[in-house]
Amino acid sequence: MEGAAVTALLQIATRSAWNRRGTLALVVLSIALATALLLGLERLRSDIRGSFTQSVSGTDLIVGARTGPVQLMLYAVFRVGGATNNISMDSVRAVAAHRAVAWTVPIALGDSHRGHPVLGTTVDYFTHFAYGDRQPLVLAQGRAFAGTLDGLYEAVLGAEVADRLGYRLGQRITLTHGLRAGSGSELAAEHADKPFTVVGVLSRTGTPVDRTVHVSLQAIEAIHLDWAGGAPLPGVSIGAEHARKFSLEPKQVTAALVGLKNRVAVFNVQRFVADYEAEPLLAVLPGVALDELWAAVGLGERALMAMSGLVALVSLASLVAVVLAGLNERRRELAVLRAVGAGPRHVLALLATEGALVTLSGAVMGAAAAAGAVLLAGPWVQQRFGITLQATAPTAQQWALFGAVLLAGMLASLVPGWRAYRLSLADGLTPRT
Protein backbone atom coordinates (compact mmCIF):
# COMPACT_ATOMS: atom_id res chain seq x y z
CA MET A 1 0.00 0.00 0.00
CA GLU A 2 2.67 2.46 1.12
CA GLY A 3 4.91 1.54 -1.79
CA ALA A 4 2.08 1.97 -4.25
CA ALA A 5 1.24 5.38 -2.78
CA VAL A 6 4.87 6.52 -3.06
CA THR A 7 5.09 5.32 -6.64
CA ALA A 8 1.86 7.10 -7.48
CA LEU A 9 3.12 10.26 -5.84
CA LEU A 10 6.40 10.08 -7.73
CA GLN A 11 4.53 9.56 -10.98
CA ILE A 12 2.27 12.50 -10.38
CA ALA A 13 5.22 14.66 -9.36
CA THR A 14 7.25 13.72 -12.45
CA ARG A 15 4.35 14.24 -14.85
CA SER A 16 3.35 17.50 -13.26
CA ALA A 17 6.93 18.69 -13.43
CA TRP A 18 7.25 17.57 -17.04
CA ASN A 19 4.21 19.70 -17.79
CA ARG A 20 6.16 22.75 -16.61
CA ARG A 21 9.49 21.57 -18.03
CA GLY A 22 10.44 24.90 -19.58
CA THR A 23 10.75 26.83 -16.33
CA LEU A 24 12.03 23.90 -14.33
CA ALA A 25 14.74 23.16 -16.91
CA LEU A 26 16.15 26.61 -16.26
CA VAL A 27 16.21 25.91 -12.52
CA VAL A 28 17.86 22.55 -13.14
CA LEU A 29 20.46 24.32 -15.28
CA SER A 30 21.22 26.89 -12.60
CA ILE A 31 21.56 24.18 -9.94
CA ALA A 32 23.76 22.18 -12.32
CA LEU A 33 26.05 25.17 -12.89
CA ALA A 34 26.29 25.86 -9.17
CA THR A 35 27.09 22.22 -8.41
CA ALA A 36 29.66 22.09 -11.19
CA LEU A 37 31.29 25.22 -9.78
CA LEU A 38 31.43 23.78 -6.26
CA LEU A 39 32.70 20.36 -7.29
CA GLY A 40 35.10 21.70 -9.92
CA LEU A 41 36.62 24.15 -7.47
CA GLU A 42 37.07 21.44 -4.86
CA ARG A 43 38.72 19.16 -7.44
CA LEU A 44 41.03 21.97 -8.52
CA ARG A 45 41.92 22.81 -4.93
CA SER A 46 42.75 19.26 -3.89
CA ASP A 47 44.60 18.48 -7.12
CA ILE A 48 46.71 21.63 -6.96
CA ARG A 49 47.73 20.68 -3.44
CA GLY A 50 48.34 17.11 -4.52
CA SER A 51 50.44 18.23 -7.48
CA PHE A 52 52.57 20.52 -5.35
CA THR A 53 53.05 17.89 -2.67
CA GLN A 54 54.00 15.33 -5.32
CA SER A 55 56.56 17.55 -6.98
CA VAL A 56 59.43 17.09 -4.60
CA SER A 57 60.39 14.23 -2.35
CA GLY A 58 63.59 13.17 -0.66
CA THR A 59 65.02 16.69 -0.91
CA ASP A 60 65.68 17.98 2.58
CA LEU A 61 66.61 21.58 1.87
CA ILE A 62 66.52 24.00 -1.01
CA VAL A 63 69.30 26.57 -0.89
CA GLY A 64 69.11 29.80 -2.84
CA ALA A 65 69.67 33.53 -2.71
CA ARG A 66 67.94 35.23 0.19
CA THR A 67 64.27 35.84 -0.58
CA GLY A 68 61.05 34.45 0.86
CA PRO A 69 60.88 30.72 1.58
CA VAL A 70 57.77 30.34 -0.53
CA GLN A 71 59.28 32.22 -3.46
CA LEU A 72 62.46 30.15 -3.43
CA MET A 73 60.45 26.97 -3.30
CA LEU A 74 58.10 28.07 -6.07
CA TYR A 75 60.94 29.04 -8.34
CA ALA A 76 63.31 26.16 -7.72
CA VAL A 77 60.72 23.40 -7.82
CA PHE A 78 57.69 24.71 -9.68
CA ARG A 79 59.37 27.20 -12.01
CA VAL A 80 56.84 29.83 -10.94
CA GLY A 81 58.03 33.40 -10.44
CA GLY A 82 61.65 34.42 -10.58
CA ALA A 83 64.84 34.31 -8.57
CA THR A 84 66.01 37.46 -6.81
CA ASN A 85 69.63 36.57 -7.40
CA ASN A 86 72.00 33.77 -8.21
CA ILE A 87 74.27 32.13 -5.68
CA SER A 88 77.92 31.43 -6.26
CA MET A 89 79.11 27.92 -6.90
CA ASP A 90 81.56 28.36 -4.01
CA SER A 91 78.65 28.65 -1.61
CA VAL A 92 77.13 25.47 -3.00
CA ARG A 93 80.48 23.72 -2.51
CA ALA A 94 80.64 24.99 1.06
CA VAL A 95 77.20 23.56 1.78
CA ALA A 96 78.17 20.29 0.09
CA ALA A 97 81.21 20.11 2.37
CA HIS A 98 79.08 20.29 5.52
CA ARG A 99 79.46 16.97 7.27
CA ALA A 100 75.73 16.34 7.51
CA VAL A 101 75.16 16.82 3.79
CA ALA A 102 74.91 13.68 1.65
CA TRP A 103 74.44 15.28 -1.74
CA THR A 104 73.84 18.62 -3.43
CA VAL A 105 72.44 19.18 -6.89
CA PRO A 106 72.95 22.70 -8.23
CA ILE A 107 70.36 24.00 -10.66
CA ALA A 108 70.47 26.98 -13.04
CA LEU A 109 67.29 28.43 -14.49
CA GLY A 110 66.53 31.36 -16.75
CA ASP A 111 66.58 30.06 -20.30
CA SER A 112 63.76 28.41 -22.13
CA HIS A 113 62.84 26.39 -25.17
CA ARG A 114 59.57 27.42 -26.82
CA GLY A 115 58.09 28.44 -23.49
CA HIS A 116 59.43 25.43 -21.61
CA PRO A 117 61.91 26.20 -18.84
CA VAL A 118 65.48 25.01 -19.32
CA LEU A 119 67.18 23.59 -16.24
CA GLY A 120 70.95 23.46 -16.12
CA THR A 121 72.13 20.85 -13.64
CA THR A 122 74.58 18.04 -13.05
CA VAL A 123 74.17 14.37 -13.88
CA ASP A 124 73.47 13.80 -10.17
CA TYR A 125 70.05 15.35 -10.71
CA PHE A 126 68.85 12.15 -12.35
CA THR A 127 69.96 10.02 -9.41
CA HIS A 128 68.99 12.24 -6.49
CA PHE A 129 65.89 14.13 -7.54
CA ALA A 130 62.70 12.30 -6.58
CA TYR A 131 59.00 13.06 -6.75
CA GLY A 132 55.76 11.65 -5.36
CA ASP A 133 56.60 8.95 -2.87
CA ARG A 134 60.38 8.97 -3.32
CA GLN A 135 60.06 7.83 -6.90
CA PRO A 136 63.23 8.52 -8.90
CA LEU A 137 63.20 9.98 -12.39
CA VAL A 138 63.08 7.30 -15.07
CA LEU A 139 64.25 7.69 -18.65
CA ALA A 140 61.58 6.50 -21.06
CA GLN A 141 63.97 6.71 -23.99
CA GLY A 142 67.66 7.30 -24.47
CA ARG A 143 70.00 8.29 -21.66
CA ALA A 144 70.92 11.21 -19.40
CA PHE A 145 73.22 13.89 -20.81
CA ALA A 146 76.85 12.90 -20.48
CA GLY A 147 77.98 15.96 -18.54
CA THR A 148 81.33 15.85 -20.32
CA LEU A 149 82.83 18.15 -22.93
CA ASP A 150 82.06 15.69 -25.71
CA GLY A 151 78.43 15.60 -24.74
CA LEU A 152 78.25 19.31 -24.06
CA TYR A 153 75.24 20.08 -26.23
CA GLU A 154 72.99 17.26 -25.06
CA ALA A 155 69.49 17.74 -23.68
CA VAL A 156 67.04 15.51 -21.79
CA LEU A 157 63.38 16.37 -22.23
CA GLY A 158 60.47 16.08 -19.83
CA ALA A 159 57.62 13.92 -21.11
CA GLU A 160 55.30 16.86 -21.79
CA VAL A 161 57.89 18.75 -23.83
CA ALA A 162 58.56 15.71 -25.99
CA ASP A 163 54.87 14.94 -26.47
CA ARG A 164 53.72 18.45 -27.18
CA LEU A 165 56.48 19.38 -29.58
CA GLY A 166 56.66 15.91 -31.09
CA TYR A 167 60.38 15.57 -30.43
CA ARG A 168 62.23 12.31 -30.65
CA LEU A 169 65.78 11.28 -29.85
CA GLY A 170 68.28 12.99 -32.11
CA GLN A 171 66.13 16.10 -32.57
CA ARG A 172 68.12 19.34 -32.77
CA ILE A 173 66.76 22.17 -30.62
CA THR A 174 67.91 25.71 -29.85
CA LEU A 175 67.46 27.42 -26.52
CA THR A 176 66.06 30.91 -26.00
CA HIS A 177 67.57 33.44 -23.65
CA GLY A 178 64.92 34.42 -21.11
CA LEU A 179 61.70 32.70 -20.24
CA ARG A 180 59.50 33.14 -23.28
CA ALA A 181 60.23 33.02 -26.95
CA GLY A 182 59.09 35.92 -29.07
CA SER A 183 56.57 34.97 -31.70
CA GLY A 184 58.65 36.12 -34.64
CA SER A 185 62.32 36.14 -35.43
CA GLU A 186 62.43 39.87 -34.64
CA LEU A 187 61.77 39.20 -30.98
CA ALA A 188 63.88 36.19 -30.25
CA ALA A 189 67.11 36.14 -28.31
CA GLU A 190 68.02 32.70 -29.55
CA HIS A 191 71.17 30.80 -28.73
CA ALA A 192 70.85 29.60 -32.28
CA ASP A 193 74.57 29.16 -32.86
CA LYS A 194 74.74 26.34 -30.33
CA PRO A 195 72.03 23.79 -31.04
CA PHE A 196 71.39 20.91 -28.67
CA THR A 197 70.68 17.29 -29.47
CA VAL A 198 67.96 15.41 -27.60
CA VAL A 199 69.56 12.34 -26.05
CA GLY A 200 66.90 11.30 -23.60
CA VAL A 201 63.21 11.65 -22.74
CA LEU A 202 61.97 11.18 -19.18
CA SER A 203 58.89 9.20 -18.22
CA ARG A 204 55.85 11.19 -17.23
CA THR A 205 55.84 12.27 -13.60
CA GLY A 206 52.86 14.63 -13.35
CA THR A 207 55.21 17.28 -11.93
CA PRO A 208 56.94 20.37 -13.38
CA VAL A 209 59.77 18.06 -14.49
CA ASP A 210 57.54 17.08 -17.42
CA ARG A 211 57.68 20.61 -18.79
CA THR A 212 61.41 21.03 -18.34
CA VAL A 213 64.35 20.74 -20.73
CA HIS A 214 67.43 19.49 -18.85
CA VAL A 215 70.96 20.37 -19.93
CA SER A 216 74.31 20.37 -18.15
CA LEU A 217 75.57 23.37 -16.19
CA GLN A 218 78.55 23.56 -18.53
CA ALA A 219 76.21 23.88 -21.47
CA ILE A 220 74.49 26.83 -19.79
CA GLU A 221 77.94 28.43 -19.40
CA ALA A 222 78.82 27.64 -23.01
CA ILE A 223 75.77 29.26 -24.58
CA HIS A 224 76.40 32.43 -22.59
CA LEU A 225 80.13 32.66 -23.35
CA ASP A 226 79.74 35.33 -25.98
CA TRP A 227 77.15 37.21 -23.96
CA ALA A 228 77.97 40.09 -21.69
CA GLY A 229 75.80 42.52 -19.78
CA GLY A 230 72.69 40.69 -20.81
CA ALA A 231 73.17 40.83 -24.58
CA PRO A 232 75.30 39.10 -27.20
CA LEU A 233 78.65 40.88 -27.44
CA PRO A 234 78.68 42.79 -30.69
CA GLY A 235 81.23 41.42 -33.10
CA VAL A 236 82.09 38.47 -30.87
CA SER A 237 80.91 35.05 -31.75
CA ILE A 238 82.24 31.90 -30.19
CA GLY A 239 81.31 28.88 -32.22
CA ALA A 240 79.83 25.77 -30.71
CA GLU A 241 83.06 23.80 -31.12
CA HIS A 242 85.32 26.64 -30.12
CA ALA A 243 83.36 27.04 -26.86
CA ARG A 244 84.72 23.74 -25.59
CA LYS A 245 88.16 25.33 -25.31
CA PHE A 246 86.99 27.83 -22.70
CA SER A 247 86.61 27.16 -19.02
CA LEU A 248 83.00 26.07 -18.67
CA GLU A 249 83.18 25.60 -14.93
CA PRO A 250 79.93 27.14 -13.65
CA LYS A 251 80.51 30.11 -11.36
CA GLN A 252 76.92 30.84 -10.45
CA VAL A 253 73.75 28.82 -10.13
CA THR A 254 70.17 29.66 -9.21
CA ALA A 255 69.71 27.26 -6.34
CA ALA A 256 70.79 23.91 -5.00
CA LEU A 257 68.82 20.92 -3.81
CA VAL A 258 70.32 19.35 -0.72
CA GLY A 259 69.93 15.87 0.69
CA LEU A 260 71.14 14.97 4.17
CA LYS A 261 72.68 11.89 5.71
CA ASN A 262 70.39 12.17 8.69
CA ARG A 263 67.26 14.26 8.48
CA VAL A 264 67.45 15.23 12.14
CA ALA A 265 70.41 17.45 11.20
CA VAL A 266 68.20 19.53 8.93
CA PHE A 267 68.02 22.47 11.32
CA ASN A 268 71.76 22.56 11.83
CA VAL A 269 72.38 22.70 8.10
CA GLN A 270 69.65 25.28 7.70
CA ARG A 271 71.29 27.40 10.37
CA PHE A 272 74.71 26.85 8.77
CA VAL A 273 73.35 28.16 5.46
CA ALA A 274 71.60 31.11 7.07
CA ASP A 275 74.76 32.09 8.94
CA TYR A 276 77.03 31.60 5.91
CA GLU A 277 79.10 34.73 5.85
CA ALA A 278 80.45 34.96 2.31
CA GLU A 279 77.01 35.44 0.78
CA PRO A 280 73.45 35.89 2.04
CA LEU A 281 71.76 32.55 1.55
CA LEU A 282 68.45 30.99 2.43
CA ALA A 283 67.67 27.34 3.05
CA VAL A 284 64.09 26.14 3.21
CA LEU A 285 62.50 22.86 4.15
CA PRO A 286 60.19 22.10 1.22
CA GLY A 287 57.40 20.82 3.45
CA VAL A 288 57.47 23.88 5.70
CA ALA A 289 57.55 26.28 2.72
CA LEU A 290 54.57 24.49 1.17
CA ASP A 291 52.61 24.77 4.40
CA GLU A 292 53.41 28.48 4.44
CA LEU A 293 52.10 28.71 0.90
CA TRP A 294 48.87 26.92 1.83
CA ALA A 295 48.43 29.17 4.83
CA ALA A 296 48.62 32.19 2.48
CA VAL A 297 46.52 30.64 -0.26
CA GLY A 298 44.00 29.15 2.16
CA LEU A 299 42.27 32.48 2.68
CA GLY A 300 41.64 32.88 -1.03
CA GLU A 301 40.50 29.29 -1.28
CA ARG A 302 38.00 29.77 1.49
CA ALA A 303 36.72 32.97 -0.14
CA LEU A 304 36.24 31.12 -3.44
CA MET A 305 34.46 28.25 -1.72
CA ALA A 306 32.22 30.70 0.13
CA MET A 307 31.42 32.44 -3.16
CA SER A 308 30.46 29.20 -4.89
CA GLY A 309 28.46 28.21 -1.82
CA LEU A 310 26.56 31.47 -2.23
CA VAL A 311 26.01 30.72 -5.90
CA ALA A 312 24.50 27.39 -4.88
CA LEU A 313 22.26 29.17 -2.37
CA VAL A 314 21.10 31.62 -5.02
CA SER A 315 20.19 28.84 -7.43
CA LEU A 316 18.28 27.04 -4.67
CA ALA A 317 16.49 30.30 -3.90
CA SER A 318 15.49 30.44 -7.54
CA LEU A 319 14.15 26.91 -7.18
CA VAL A 320 11.98 28.02 -4.27
CA ALA A 321 10.86 31.11 -6.18
CA VAL A 322 9.92 29.14 -9.29
CA VAL A 323 7.97 26.49 -7.42
CA LEU A 324 6.27 29.11 -5.25
CA ALA A 325 5.29 31.14 -8.29
CA GLY A 326 4.01 27.95 -9.90
CA LEU A 327 1.73 27.35 -6.97
CA ASN A 328 -0.60 30.06 -8.19
CA GLU A 329 -0.99 28.45 -11.60
CA ARG A 330 -1.37 25.09 -10.00
CA ARG A 331 -4.15 26.00 -7.58
CA ARG A 332 -6.59 24.08 -9.71
CA GLU A 333 -4.32 21.07 -10.09
CA LEU A 334 -3.77 20.82 -6.37
CA ALA A 335 -7.43 21.38 -5.62
CA VAL A 336 -8.39 18.53 -7.95
CA LEU A 337 -5.92 16.31 -6.16
CA ARG A 338 -7.45 17.30 -2.85
CA ALA A 339 -10.95 16.69 -4.24
CA VAL A 340 -10.11 13.13 -5.22
CA GLY A 341 -8.93 12.40 -1.72
CA ALA A 342 -5.35 13.62 -1.31
CA GLY A 343 -4.67 15.04 2.13
CA PRO A 344 -2.63 18.19 2.77
CA ARG A 345 0.30 15.92 3.68
CA HIS A 346 0.20 14.42 0.21
CA VAL A 347 0.31 17.86 -1.33
CA LEU A 348 3.32 18.72 0.83
CA ALA A 349 4.99 15.46 -0.20
CA LEU A 350 4.21 16.13 -3.85
CA LEU A 351 5.89 19.52 -3.85
CA ALA A 352 8.83 18.36 -1.77
CA THR A 353 9.35 15.46 -4.18
CA GLU A 354 9.27 17.83 -7.10
CA GLY A 355 11.92 20.04 -5.51
CA ALA A 356 14.07 17.05 -4.62
CA LEU A 357 13.83 15.68 -8.16
CA VAL A 358 14.81 19.01 -9.66
CA THR A 359 17.75 19.35 -7.25
CA LEU A 360 18.86 15.78 -7.85
CA SER A 361 18.85 16.10 -11.62
CA GLY A 362 20.60 19.46 -11.37
CA ALA A 363 23.26 18.13 -9.01
CA VAL A 364 23.86 15.02 -11.12
CA MET A 365 24.16 17.14 -14.26
CA GLY A 366 26.52 19.47 -12.42
CA ALA A 367 28.71 16.60 -11.24
CA ALA A 368 28.81 15.25 -14.79
CA ALA A 369 29.68 18.71 -16.11
CA ALA A 370 32.48 19.08 -13.55
CA ALA A 371 33.89 15.67 -14.48
CA GLY A 372 33.59 16.53 -18.18
CA ALA A 373 35.34 19.85 -17.67
CA VAL A 374 38.20 18.10 -15.85
CA LEU A 375 38.49 15.61 -18.71
CA LEU A 376 38.42 18.32 -21.35
CA ALA A 377 40.57 20.94 -19.63
CA GLY A 378 42.89 18.45 -17.93
CA PRO A 379 45.49 18.19 -20.72
CA TRP A 380 45.55 21.95 -21.18
CA VAL A 381 45.98 22.63 -17.46
CA GLN A 382 48.72 19.99 -17.29
CA GLN A 383 50.55 21.55 -20.19
CA ARG A 384 50.09 25.15 -19.16
CA PHE A 385 50.55 24.89 -15.39
CA GLY A 386 51.98 21.42 -14.83
CA ILE A 387 49.09 20.48 -12.56
CA THR A 388 47.53 17.10 -13.13
CA LEU A 389 43.75 17.18 -12.75
CA GLN A 390 42.48 13.75 -11.89
CA ALA A 391 39.37 12.49 -13.60
CA THR A 392 38.92 9.84 -10.95
CA ALA A 393 36.27 9.01 -8.37
CA PRO A 394 35.07 12.01 -6.32
CA THR A 395 36.97 12.84 -3.18
CA ALA A 396 35.32 12.69 0.24
CA GLN A 397 35.00 16.47 0.19
CA GLN A 398 33.29 16.35 -3.19
CA TRP A 399 30.78 13.81 -1.92
CA ALA A 400 30.14 16.02 1.08
CA LEU A 401 29.51 19.05 -1.15
CA PHE A 402 27.25 17.00 -3.42
CA GLY A 403 25.28 15.79 -0.40
CA ALA A 404 25.07 19.32 0.97
CA VAL A 405 23.56 20.60 -2.29
CA LEU A 406 20.99 17.78 -2.29
CA LEU A 407 20.07 18.30 1.32
CA ALA A 408 19.78 22.06 0.92
CA GLY A 409 17.59 21.51 -2.17
CA MET A 410 15.26 19.21 -0.28
CA LEU A 411 15.01 21.58 2.66
CA ALA A 412 14.36 24.48 0.29
CA SER A 413 11.52 22.65 -1.45
CA LEU A 414 9.77 22.23 1.88
CA VAL A 415 9.04 25.97 1.71
CA PRO A 416 6.60 25.82 -1.23
CA GLY A 417 5.38 22.49 0.14
CA TRP A 418 4.45 24.15 3.41
CA ARG A 419 2.71 26.94 1.56
CA ALA A 420 0.62 24.44 -0.43
CA TYR A 421 -0.14 22.51 2.76
CA ARG A 422 -1.71 25.64 4.17
CA LEU A 423 -3.89 26.31 1.12
CA SER A 424 -7.40 25.18 1.79
CA LEU A 425 -9.39 23.04 -0.54
CA ALA A 426 -11.90 25.80 -0.99
CA ASP A 427 -9.19 28.23 -2.04
CA GLY A 428 -8.37 26.18 -5.13
CA LEU A 429 -11.94 25.54 -6.10
CA THR A 430 -13.17 29.09 -5.77
CA PRO A 431 -12.52 30.94 -8.99
CA ARG A 432 -10.90 34.28 -8.30
CA THR A 433 -11.44 37.29 -10.38
Binding site: R134, R263, V264, F267, N268, L290
Partner: protein
Protein backbone atom coordinates in the same frame (compact mmCIF):
# COMPACT_ATOMS: atom_id res chain seq x y z
CA UNK B 1 71.89 36.37 17.31
CA UNK B 2 75.33 35.94 18.84
CA UNK B 3 74.51 38.63 21.32
CA UNK B 4 71.35 36.79 22.35
CA UNK B 5 73.38 33.69 23.00
CA UNK B 6 75.73 35.53 25.28
CA UNK B 7 73.06 37.32 27.15
CA UNK B 8 71.61 33.91 27.77
CA UNK B 9 74.98 32.60 28.85
CA UNK B 10 75.59 35.51 31.16
CA UNK B 11 72.21 34.93 32.69
CA UNK B 12 72.91 31.25 33.05
CA UNK B 13 76.21 31.81 34.76
CA UNK B 14 74.46 34.10 37.22
CA UNK B 15 71.77 31.57 37.86
CA UNK B 16 74.41 28.88 38.10
CA UNK B 17 76.24 30.85 40.76
CA UNK B 18 73.08 31.31 42.77
CA UNK B 19 71.98 27.72 42.54
CA UNK B 20 75.01 25.63 41.80
CA UNK B 21 72.93 22.50 41.86
CA UNK B 22 70.39 23.64 39.31
CA UNK B 23 69.31 20.64 37.26
CA UNK B 24 71.90 19.96 34.63
CA UNK B 25 70.83 19.90 31.03
CA UNK B 26 69.39 22.63 28.96
CA UNK B 27 67.71 25.15 31.19
CA UNK B 28 66.75 27.30 28.21
CA UNK B 29 64.72 24.53 26.68
CA UNK B 30 61.87 24.53 29.12
CA UNK B 31 59.13 23.00 27.01
CA UNK B 32 55.86 24.87 26.99
CA UNK B 33 54.14 21.64 26.08
CA UNK B 34 55.07 19.87 29.25
CA UNK B 35 53.28 16.69 29.98
CA UNK B 36 52.64 16.12 33.68
CA UNK B 37 56.04 15.68 35.22
CA UNK B 38 55.00 12.96 37.58
CA UNK B 39 52.80 10.95 35.29
CA UNK B 40 50.77 8.24 36.88
CA UNK B 41 52.46 4.88 36.43
CA UNK B 42 51.15 3.55 33.16
CA UNK B 43 49.74 0.04 32.97
CA UNK B 44 52.28 -2.40 31.55
CA UNK B 45 52.47 -2.27 27.76
CA UNK B 46 50.88 1.15 27.55
CA UNK B 47 53.20 3.99 26.54
CA UNK B 48 54.60 6.09 29.34
CA UNK B 49 53.94 9.81 29.04
CA UNK B 50 57.27 11.62 29.19
CA UNK B 51 58.47 15.21 29.13
CA UNK B 52 61.04 16.83 26.88
CA UNK B 53 63.30 17.26 29.91
CA UNK B 54 63.31 13.51 30.36
CA UNK B 55 65.01 13.16 26.98
CA UNK B 56 68.10 14.87 28.37
CA UNK B 57 70.37 12.55 30.37
CA UNK B 58 70.51 13.72 33.98
CA UNK B 59 74.29 13.96 33.98
CA UNK B 60 74.71 15.89 30.75
CA UNK B 61 76.07 19.40 31.16
CA UNK B 62 76.54 21.36 27.96
CA UNK B 63 78.41 24.05 29.89
CA UNK B 64 81.03 21.68 31.24
CA UNK B 65 83.71 23.15 29.02
CA UNK B 66 82.84 26.66 30.02
CA UNK B 67 83.28 26.23 33.75
CA UNK B 68 85.16 29.11 35.25
CA UNK B 69 84.61 31.46 32.32
CA UNK B 70 82.97 34.73 33.23
CA UNK B 71 80.94 35.61 30.17
CA UNK B 72 80.20 39.04 31.51
CA UNK B 73 83.83 39.94 30.99
CA UNK B 74 83.45 39.58 27.23
CA UNK B 75 83.52 42.75 25.18
CA UNK B 76 81.59 43.13 21.96
CA UNK B 77 83.51 41.56 19.11
CA UNK B 78 85.78 39.51 21.36
CA UNK B 79 87.23 36.79 19.10
CA UNK B 80 86.89 34.28 21.92
CA UNK B 81 83.14 34.76 21.83
CA UNK B 82 82.79 33.24 18.39
CA UNK B 83 85.04 30.37 19.27
CA UNK B 84 83.08 29.56 22.40
CA UNK B 85 79.83 29.90 20.54
CA UNK B 86 81.02 27.38 17.98
CA UNK B 87 82.09 25.02 20.73
CA UNK B 88 78.77 25.32 22.44
CA UNK B 89 76.92 24.74 19.20
CA UNK B 90 78.93 21.57 18.77
CA UNK B 91 78.09 20.43 22.26
CA UNK B 92 74.43 20.97 21.52
CA UNK B 93 74.60 19.29 18.13
CA UNK B 94 76.14 16.23 19.74
CA UNK B 95 73.90 16.21 22.78
CA UNK B 96 73.61 12.61 24.01
CA UNK B 97 70.41 10.65 24.35
CA UNK B 98 69.05 9.39 27.63
CA UNK B 99 69.86 5.65 27.62
CA UNK B 100 67.18 4.96 30.22
CA UNK B 101 64.44 5.90 27.78
CA UNK B 102 65.74 4.22 24.65
CA UNK B 103 63.72 1.17 23.76
CA UNK B 104 60.73 2.21 25.84
CA UNK B 105 57.19 2.83 24.72
CA UNK B 106 56.63 6.55 25.27
CA UNK B 107 54.05 9.20 24.64
CA UNK B 108 55.12 12.81 24.16
CA UNK B 109 53.55 16.02 22.84
CA UNK B 110 55.28 18.41 20.47
CA UNK B 111 55.22 20.61 17.38
CA UNK B 112 55.42 19.17 13.89
CA UNK B 113 58.02 20.10 11.26
CA UNK B 114 57.07 18.22 8.08
CA UNK B 115 59.77 16.35 6.16
CA UNK B 116 58.04 14.06 3.71
CA UNK B 117 54.54 14.82 2.54
CA UNK B 118 52.50 12.73 0.14
CA UNK B 119 48.97 12.57 -1.15
CA UNK B 120 48.02 10.15 1.59
CA UNK B 121 49.42 12.44 4.27
CA UNK B 122 52.56 13.15 6.20
CA UNK B 123 54.99 10.22 6.14
CA UNK B 124 57.93 11.66 8.04
CA UNK B 125 58.30 14.61 10.36
CA UNK B 126 60.38 16.04 13.16
CA UNK B 127 58.87 16.70 16.57
CA UNK B 128 60.25 19.70 18.44
CA UNK B 129 59.47 21.03 21.91
CA UNK B 130 58.43 24.60 21.16
CA UNK B 131 56.71 26.62 18.48
CA UNK B 132 58.95 28.05 15.80
CA UNK B 133 61.84 25.88 16.91
CA UNK B 134 64.44 25.54 14.25
CA UNK B 135 62.75 27.82 11.80
CA UNK B 136 63.26 31.23 13.35
CA UNK B 137 65.78 30.56 16.08
CA UNK B 138 68.91 28.49 16.60
CA UNK B 139 68.01 24.83 16.51
CA UNK B 140 67.50 23.02 19.81
CA UNK B 141 70.07 20.42 20.94
CA UNK B 142 70.05 17.11 19.16
CA UNK B 143 68.32 15.40 22.05
CA UNK B 144 65.41 17.80 21.82
CA UNK B 145 64.43 16.72 18.30
CA UNK B 146 62.60 13.49 17.54
CA UNK B 147 62.49 12.04 14.05
CA UNK B 148 58.99 10.55 13.71
CA UNK B 149 58.05 7.88 11.18
CA UNK B 150 54.31 7.27 11.55
CA UNK B 151 53.05 3.75 10.92
CA UNK B 152 50.49 5.11 8.49
CA UNK B 153 50.51 8.56 6.81
CA UNK B 154 48.97 11.31 8.92
CA UNK B 155 46.37 13.49 7.22
CA UNK B 156 45.58 17.09 8.01
CA UNK B 157 48.70 17.93 10.02
CA UNK B 158 50.67 21.01 9.02
CA UNK B 159 53.83 22.80 10.10
CA UNK B 160 53.83 23.66 13.77
CA UNK B 161 50.61 21.82 14.54
CA UNK B 162 50.69 20.22 17.97
CA UNK B 163 50.33 16.48 18.28
CA UNK B 164 50.68 13.67 20.76
CA UNK B 165 52.75 10.83 19.46
CA UNK B 166 53.27 7.46 20.99
CA UNK B 167 55.58 4.65 20.02
CA UNK B 168 58.88 3.04 20.79
CA UNK B 169 61.72 5.49 21.34
CA UNK B 170 64.87 4.43 19.52
CA UNK B 171 68.03 6.15 18.35
CA UNK B 172 68.99 6.96 14.79
CA UNK B 173 71.79 5.19 13.00
CA UNK B 174 75.14 5.59 14.70
CA UNK B 175 77.19 6.07 11.55
CA UNK B 176 75.65 9.41 10.76
CA UNK B 177 76.60 12.96 11.49
CA UNK B 178 74.63 13.24 14.68
CA UNK B 179 76.29 10.23 16.17
CA UNK B 180 74.04 8.14 18.37
CA UNK B 181 72.29 11.20 19.58
CA UNK B 182 69.28 11.36 17.31
CA UNK B 183 66.00 10.15 18.78
CA UNK B 184 63.60 8.37 16.53
CA UNK B 185 60.06 7.09 17.06
CA UNK B 186 58.19 4.81 14.75
CA UNK B 187 54.92 6.20 15.92
CA UNK B 188 52.06 3.84 16.30
CA UNK B 189 49.79 6.69 17.11
CA UNK B 190 49.65 10.36 16.14
CA UNK B 191 46.80 12.42 17.59
CA UNK B 192 46.03 16.14 17.81
CA UNK B 193 47.28 17.65 21.04
CA UNK B 194 44.74 18.23 23.76
CA UNK B 195 45.53 19.59 27.18
CA UNK B 196 43.36 17.11 29.03
CA UNK B 197 44.71 14.03 27.28
CA UNK B 198 46.34 11.60 29.62
Amino acid sequence: MIRTYFRLLALLSLVGAAAAQAPAGVPAMKPPLAAPAAAAPAPPGAPRTITWEALVPADWDPFKEFKGIDFQMLDDGDPRANEWLKKMRQAWDNAPVNPELVGQMVRIPGFVVPLEDSKEGLKEFLLVPYFGACIHSPPPPANQIIHVLPKSPVKGVRSMDTVWISGKLTTGKTDTYMGASGYRIEATHVAPYTEAAR
